[in-house]
Symmetry: C2
Subunit: 192 residues, 2 copies
């Protein structure tokens, strides 16, 4: 009920997310996390046996949320372009509204920790989008590039736009950036 008396496990995860994205995994000590969460050092290890377990728990938590959210409403669209626009919007808005969680997932993916868990767990999330891309290629909407290149360009496009929106040194209209960005990538992938 009272947000102050929230679950300690949640408090630890919130504190860890904040500090990890701020200072990195190695740059954040378990003592700092405990202090930020307002619990004793021992409490952290009741919920997460090791620091690495904490990191992995955070990853699966946020990765799960991200996976759900980027698919919202896609099946309601009929054309491939609308489906991909929905994916584009979902992905960017997720990053903009949850910058710490988004940053954490990115940080985790390019860290040694990823090698310790099944990489397939991560990959199978993208199959959904891989199929979408391939649909565009075989149906002739996309130019005849490999799905890998098409996917990479698309996702790096979302990163480019998301990065601009979150950059405090840049103040441009958010909706316009998102729409312009999509048009650029879509045109690039389709027009000859």
């Amino acid at each position: 009920m009272d947000p102050q008396v929230k679950d300690k496990r949640t408090a630890i995860m919130d504190a860890a997310l904040k500090l990890f994205t701020e200072r990195g995994f190695h740059g954040t000590s378990t003592a700092q996390i405990s202090k930020e969460a307002g619990v004793a050092t021992g409490t952290l290890f009741n919920y997460f046996p090791t620091k690495e377990d904490l990191i992995n728990s955070l990853y699966f938590e946020f990765k799960g949320r991200l996976s759900c959210n980027i698919k919202v409403g896609i099946n309601e669209e009929v054309s491939l372009k609308d489906k991909l626009r929905r994916l584009w919007l979902n992905f960017i808005w997720w990053g903009v509204n949850n910058p710490e969680e988004y940053l954490f997932v990115e940080q985790f993916c390019s860290s040694p920790y990823i090698t310790k868990i099944t990489r397939e767990e991560v990959m199978k999330e993208y199959i959904f989008f891989y199929n979408l891309t391939q649909e565009g290629i075989t149906s002739g909407i996309f130019k005849h590039h490999t799905p890998e290149l098409t996917m990479k360009i698309f996702f790096h496009g979302t990163k480019a736009v998301g990065g601009l929106i979150l950059d405090p040194n840049v103040s441009l209209d958010t909706d316009e950036l998102i729409e312009d960005g999509f048009r650029i990538i879509w045109n690039g992938l389709t027009t000859e």
Copy 2:
């Protein structure tokens, strides 16, 4: 002469580069760097007063090399498209041929260390390209987007292609990837 008897300062920087990109700044101890470089722990501190100095020295070294290399041959081209293609090629090939240095610069840019040195030092490097982008916009070659968005999309395009080339799980023709990638981005930024 003999590569074994190379300058100790260089040996330390090489070792640090390797370990930093492998395990991150905090994840690498000065003792590990010294051992990898084949010198005593004290020697490292003869050349670099602190660990942070070592990191900053590495950054300025590689950033300088990168800045020089991506501009090679651009002024010899006449059309904007050829200049940008040259930039595209230079940037991707630098990343592919010097993955550790490239990764290090990226890692450094998105770390707290960057705040401790003049950020302008980094920014002024991009003015060159910013002007190139603006030239394309004012001359009507590029669509009327902000230079910021145009730049971001372009550089994220190079990252997308570079990432695919370096990904050991993907084996696609390098030259084709680079050319296809450029065509996608160029078409996206120019066609209506």
